[in-house]
């Protein structure tokens, strides 16, 4: 099953590359940097029975190619501090990293100002929490494919609004074992990649997530584009140690158009 999923992911990425190569030179390409602030509320029963709330900075590098269809690549890193307990005495550091590659196919006529898209996203999301030099830690890694639906609304020649919804459907999920630690984790503590990717194909019943993004884009000049982003991420892991997470991210980006 693992091989089958890897093959599907590889085929999807190959298709992205092939499609990207077929796009003509009239397409708009953007490369940019996004900086934002995120607000997190979560409960990870592996880390603690207590709710955690916190905030932190978020940084993304992205590349987009837009013509009729849209190709998006995004690498994100963020970190911050979560607080819990009486008077918020427990402070837990958290670190997240993600890579997303989306291909969105247009469903609308190119002359219309409002266009709708549907497509696939490959995602790799890592969420790691560390309390006081690993005296307590937890993590949640997902890796797989999601459905994405999107729209763009051209306000005028220089402004447009874009919205998207992403729902994962084929994901490998890696979570700590029942007791948080086991011999596998102890043996692999020097190579955390082995732990993070020791996942299993999960069902929609066990893992539910939705990411909703809306952004406003303004073309400042022929080559510079400014964007204001809002992203809402909701995740729910129904396993032995449940996770519920809501994250709000407000960010802004500058990109170079070529």
């Amino acid at each position: 099953m693992k091989l089958k999923t890897t093959t599907i992911i590889a085929a999807f990425l190959l298709a992205l590359t092939a499609k990207a190569q077929r796009v003509t030179s009239t397409s708009k390409k953007y490369i940019g940097l996004d900086i934002g602030y995120r607000f997190d509320n979560l409960n990870d029963q592996n880390l603690s029975p207590l709710n955690q709330k916190g905030e932190g900075l978020s940084y993304s590098l992205f590349y987009e190619k837009r013509k009729k269809n849209i190709l998006k690549l995004n690498i994100n890193y963020s970190d911050g501090l979560l607080e819990s307990g009486v008077n918020d005495t427990f402070e837990t550091s958290y670190y997240t990293g993600s890579f997303n590659a989306s291909y969105l196919k247009s469903l609308s006529h190119s002359a219309k100002t409002t266009k709708f898209y549907i497509g696939l996203t490959y995602n790799l999301d890592v969420y790691y929490m560390d309390w006081f030099d690993q005296d307590a830690f937890s993590y949640s890694t997902t890796n797989g494919l999601s459905f994405t639906g999107a729209f763009t609304k051209q306000l005028n020649t220089k402004q447009f609004i874009e919205g998207s919804v992403t729902i994962p459907f084929l994901q490998y999920l890696s979570r700590p074992p029942y007791n948080g630690i086991n011999e596998f984790i102890i043996e692999n503590q020097d190579t955390p990649v082995n732990i993070i990717f020791d996942g299993e194909l999960t069902s929609f019943k066990k893992y539910k997530a939705i990411a909703w993004n809306i952004n406003y884009n303004l073309e400042i000049s022929n080559h510079i584009n400014w964007r204001l982003n809002y992203t809402l991420n909701i995740k729910k892991v129904i396993e032995i140690n449940k996770v519920k997470s809501v994250s709000n991210l407000i960010s802004t980006s500058i990109s170079y158009k070529f």
Partner: protein, 359 residues
Amino acid sequence: MFPTLSQLVYLTNFNMKKIITILILVIATSCSKVIIEENEPNTKKNNFEILWNDFDQHYSLFVIRDINWNDLYDRYQPQVNENQSDDELWTLFSNLLEHLDDSHTVMYDGNGNSYRSGYKLNKQSINEISKTLIEEKYIEEITTISSEDDLLYSKIKNKNIGYIYLGTMDGSNPAVMDNVVAKLEAYDAIILDIRQNTGGEDRYSARIAQSFSDGRHLVYTVQTRNGPNHNDFDSKTEYFTKFNNSNTYNKPVVVLTDRKTISAGEVFLLHMKAFNNVIQIGDTTAGDFSTLSNMRFLPNGWHYQYSIQKFLLPNGESLDGIGHIPDVYVKNTEADIKAGNDTVLDTAIQHLFNEFGIE
């Protein structure tokens, strides 16, 4: 009367922006409350329930230590009430956890105070050894290994015996023990003192033991609790002594232990006692082998850890709650130390003379 096209576009954009802004605000504030449930209430009873249930679901040694956790709930839960002080609740929790007699069960109040289960004898042993006395009376030519925590080697004064003190298994380069053993190779025996060894990493222990290894032996298995029943454990992971043919030590080794030789210090002994040339002299060790859980948290700010594994000897027996019983039992008293005598070290030196004629 009718707005122009550009006015319409403006109005549409304005309304859309307004709608989106309102939508974002509504979603951002309401989603968290809907998805994340109410936080655990910080009441005395709820703190007790979380603690008791967490142990019930995750602690690994109820069966091995013959603890009836349900009986303890019936005994202690009725004593919890919302009018008692934090100090009274702390005492009640401590009394409950004392039944485990497991010094890997530790509770912190977040204000610098802590409680450790079954720690009375361990604590007492702190005053039953004096490093100053050892260094002044018993050893010479002392070399401290700066790369490691609490590791030194030397020789016993006026004897052809090497001496190593290792106070923790938390260092960064256990292979340095190969060099230490090489330095002491000319002596007829080594006394390896791991009294007050506070433990650390089992892998570190295994690598240190390799410097004295005479072969590859199955020494223990580890299982981690993986389910809600007290007997739910994952499959056994087997651990063997490490062996390097080009680097062995075959002369007598005396390992000194006390009640505070604990955890990875005891795992080290599991390795060492598999070798033919090793004997243990001193007091019985703590009897706490398991890896500690992640820190666990209570709504009132207290936090705690406990054992999550069981270690078994190849014959299926457990030393948890028992410890390593020495081949030659001897322990210091505070009076011995005050009188300038380390009876344990004296016994080891005498044993090497009696058994091997080493002096």
